[in-house]
């Protein structure tokens, strides 16, 4: 590993994310810190994963990321649709998460009833640019 390799890893990763975005990859971040798991985010993760298997969905990526910091809104997920602002949802359970999955992730319609905010915190940014 040298500095060049680091830059290469970074470039490869960004390229991959960009090409995924081009082919319409939707990313679902489930915020799974200890706090999130205690509030039920593991159930949400499992429910979405199971539904993805059932649908054999190929252009959806689910990630477990750390706590997003807003404890009183937990469990939270963030949905990234390419070319659209990311949307954070809060105070979810497995049922609500599945509604979001069908409406927003599959259908492209933000589930406004559970949405908290759109966009990412500064200085966070999507590697795809938007």
């Amino acid at each position: 590993m040298t500095g060049q390799d680091l830059i290469k890893i970074k470039k490869q990763y960004v390229d991959r994310v960009k090409s995924e975005a081009k082919s319409g990859f939707v990313t679902v971040d489930v915020h799974m810190g200890t706090c999130g798991i205690a509030a039920g985010s593991q159930k949400i993760f499992d429910a979405i994963e199971k539904e993805m298997e059932k649908l054999e969905a190929k252009n959806i990526k689910i990630r477990s990321t750390g706590c997003a910091g807003f404890c009183s809104m937990e469990p939270m997920i963030t949905v990234h649709v390419p070319g659209k602002p990311s949307v954070k949802y809060g105070k979810l359970d497995a049922k609500k998460a599945l509604e979001i999955f069908y409406s927003h992730v599959l259908g492209g319609h933000v589930k406004a009833d559970y949405a908290m905010s759109q966009g990412l915190e500064k200085p966070q940014h999507r590697l795809t640019g938007k």
Binding site: T2, T65, C67, L106, V110
Partner: protein, 567 residues
């Protein structure tokens, strides 16, 4: 039809053209059978995608979710949310944003670039100079300048040296280090490696409390991934620098967050603080020069190196630079982790970011710094949060726990809670902390039970000051702070407990009469309805009567009464 194929439902759903579904103004519609639900298509949306959502929802979901057709425009942008907009993410820039188990994601977000810069372009002295000029001060609570500590450790010639990351976060109401270790472990690892390079240490340890199993797992995964990529281990990035990190899970003692006790604990001895000097920088772990910093301090390092000391200094005040992570809990509306520039006012923290006090209650006090800190009142709301300004008013930055209290909290009870914590966690090595705190606790309990006498206040004060002066380690010296600060700002509450035998916040059950004030009572009978013990008897248009023999003092009636008629 394309949508049906995309969902591999083409053979299970039939597409039928129908007549108009009547609601013309809504535009094209479809009806989903067998449910008979009609859904309109918003012309602005992608029809195929919309169809997928509707049909998939109908077909697969056992819950039959409703599809929201409200536009995206109604969702507030994140910059307009008080909780997020006032925050300045430096340490927590990757929170909830990267998958911590995937090192490539961290690298893609400029991870390990600082380590690369240090190893190829900077001498250890330059690194220390940069950290010193950034003005970074230890985030564990005491606020010792980090650059100075590194320089001192580098100065000693004994080898090997050690780097220790203190992740033994024990304060009640503090959880920022846990969140950092879970969501961005590589930042801590990178910071430690830079420290190792700067002071000339080949080995680092992360001391994590065992109550954080997920943090331990995330850190271990991160270390393994970093070793695989040669970002830790031997000859890192072909620079000739070796650095390894081991994790040491603590056994659950609060005192092991104290640096010397922590080192004894790693050595396998009983975790008890020792007398300083020699400072850890001279003779720490296994009597070798050791540089110990907090999790948050280390997480700041890569950013300072990558973006420069001047960038870091652009946050905060001249004496307290950068940002600080606080974990806000208690009676605020928005409970959570907040990272703000130093120098922000307490008011902004609680009311802008925290969203104010929950429900209709009134702000009463805020406890900063956990059991070692003191509480601040309304008159302090406008002081800026820096290391020095908080010390001047008898509180401290501490590790960053912010517990907000409203007028339903009794300050004597709060003091008792924190003292109880300190008594439980005292290591027992020195008399003032071990015995003195127990005596303080027994006096507080006496007051809470209604047996307090006027002399108690003086005795509390004298004892607390003695403990502060004569305790062996920082924990003992700071343990009386909650008592002293509540005595200073809420003396009238202590006096109400002692002289009037009354608890103004109606918390201490021994001091509540559980009687009904005839002037306030509206004879509504709500108290009788909620009483789980059936101790309140009430007839229409009559004053309720509380049977004190049956009463369990659960306070349900007090909470239910809208007219404050029960005292």
């Amino acid at each position: 039809m394309k949508a049906l194929y995309q969902l591999s439902l083409a053979d299970k759903v039939e597409l039928v053209e129908t007549d108009c579904l009547i609601s013309c103004q809504e535009g094209p519609s479809i009806m989903l059978l067998p449910s008979g639900r009609v859904a309109q298509v918003n012309p602005g949306h992608n029809f195929t995608a919309w169809l997928i959502a509707n049909i998939a929802a109908l077909y697969h979901s056992p819950h039959r979710p409703s599809i929201s057709l409200r536009g995206d425009a109604e969702i507030p942008p994140i910059e307009q949310m008080g909780f997020f907009s006032k925050q300045e993410l430096v340490v927590m820039r990757n929170r909830g944003h990267i998958d911590a188990e995937n090192i490539e994601e961290y690298i893609a977000h400029d991870g390990y670039m600082a380590l690369y810069k240090v190893l190829t372009a900077l001498e250890p002295e330059d690194v220390i100079k940069e950290i010193k000029s950034s003005g970074l001060r230890g985030r564990g609570g005491a606020g010792f300048p980090t650059g100075l500590k590194w320089e001192e450790t580098r100065g000693y010639k004994t080898n090997p040296k050690y780097v220790i990351c203190n992740g033994d976060e024990g304060d009640p109401g503090a959880f920022m280090d846990r969140s950092l270790m879970e969501s961005d472990p590589h930042a801590i690892i990178e910071g430690m490696a830079i420290c190792g390079y700067a002071i000339g240490a080949p080995q680092g340890y992360i001391y994590v409390r065992a109550e954080y199993p997920l943090a331990v797992k995330m850190l271990q995964t991160a270390i393994d991934n970093a070793v695989k990529k040669n970002l830790l281990g031997r000859n890192i990035m072909k620079s000739g620098f070796n650095f390894n990190i081991g994790i040491y899970p603590g056994a659950g003692a609060f005192v092991c967050g104290e640096s010397t006790a922590l080192m004894f604990s790693i050595e396998g001895k009983r975790g008890m603080p020792r007398i300083k000097p020699p400072r850890s920088a001279e003779a720490g772990l296994w009597e070798k020069p050791t540089c110990l910093n907090n999790v948050e301090t280390f997480a700041n390092i890569p950013q300072i190196i990558r973006r420069g000391a001047d960038w870091f200094k652009s946050f905060g005040t001249p004496e307290s630079t950068g940002t600080k992570v606080f974990s806000m809990s208690g009676a605020v509306r928005n409970v959570g982790l907040v990272e703000v520039p130093m120098g922000i006012t307490v008011r902004s923290l609680i009311f802008d970011i925290g969203g104010g006090i929950k429900g209709n209650a009134k702000f009463k006090a805020v406890q900063l710094g956990g059991p070692s800190g003191g509480c601040l009142t309304e008159e302090h709301l406008d002081i800026p949060i820096t290391f020095d300004s908080l010390q001047n008013v008898g509180s401290m930055m501490g590790s960053g726990g912010v517990v907000v209290m409203d007028d339903t909290n009794c300050m004597v009870d709060v003091a008792r809670f924190f003292t109880q914590f300190s008594v439980d966690e005292s290591c027992g090595k020195c008399v003032p902390c071990r015995t003195g705190l127990s005596v303080i606790l027994s006096i507080l309990e006496k007051i809470i039970m209604g047996n307090g006498v006027p002399e108690d206040l003086h005795e509390l004060e004298t004892l607390a000051l003695h403990i502060q002066k004569t305790s062996h380690c920082g924990l003992g010296q700071a343990a009386p702070n909650p008592v002293l600060s509540t005595l200073r700002y809420f003396r009238h509450e202590y006096e109400a407990h002692i002289y009037d035998k009354r608890c103004p916040a109606l918390v201490c059950t021994d001091l509540i009469h559980f009687e009904i004030n005839a002037d306030n009572c509206k004879k509504c009978g709500l108290c009788a309805k909620v009483c789980p013990a059936g101790a309140i008897s009430w007839q229409k248009k009559e004053m309720p009567v509380i049977d004190k023999i049956i009463c369990t003092k659960c306070k349900s009636c007090i909470r239910a009464c809208k007219f404050e008629a029960i005292y």
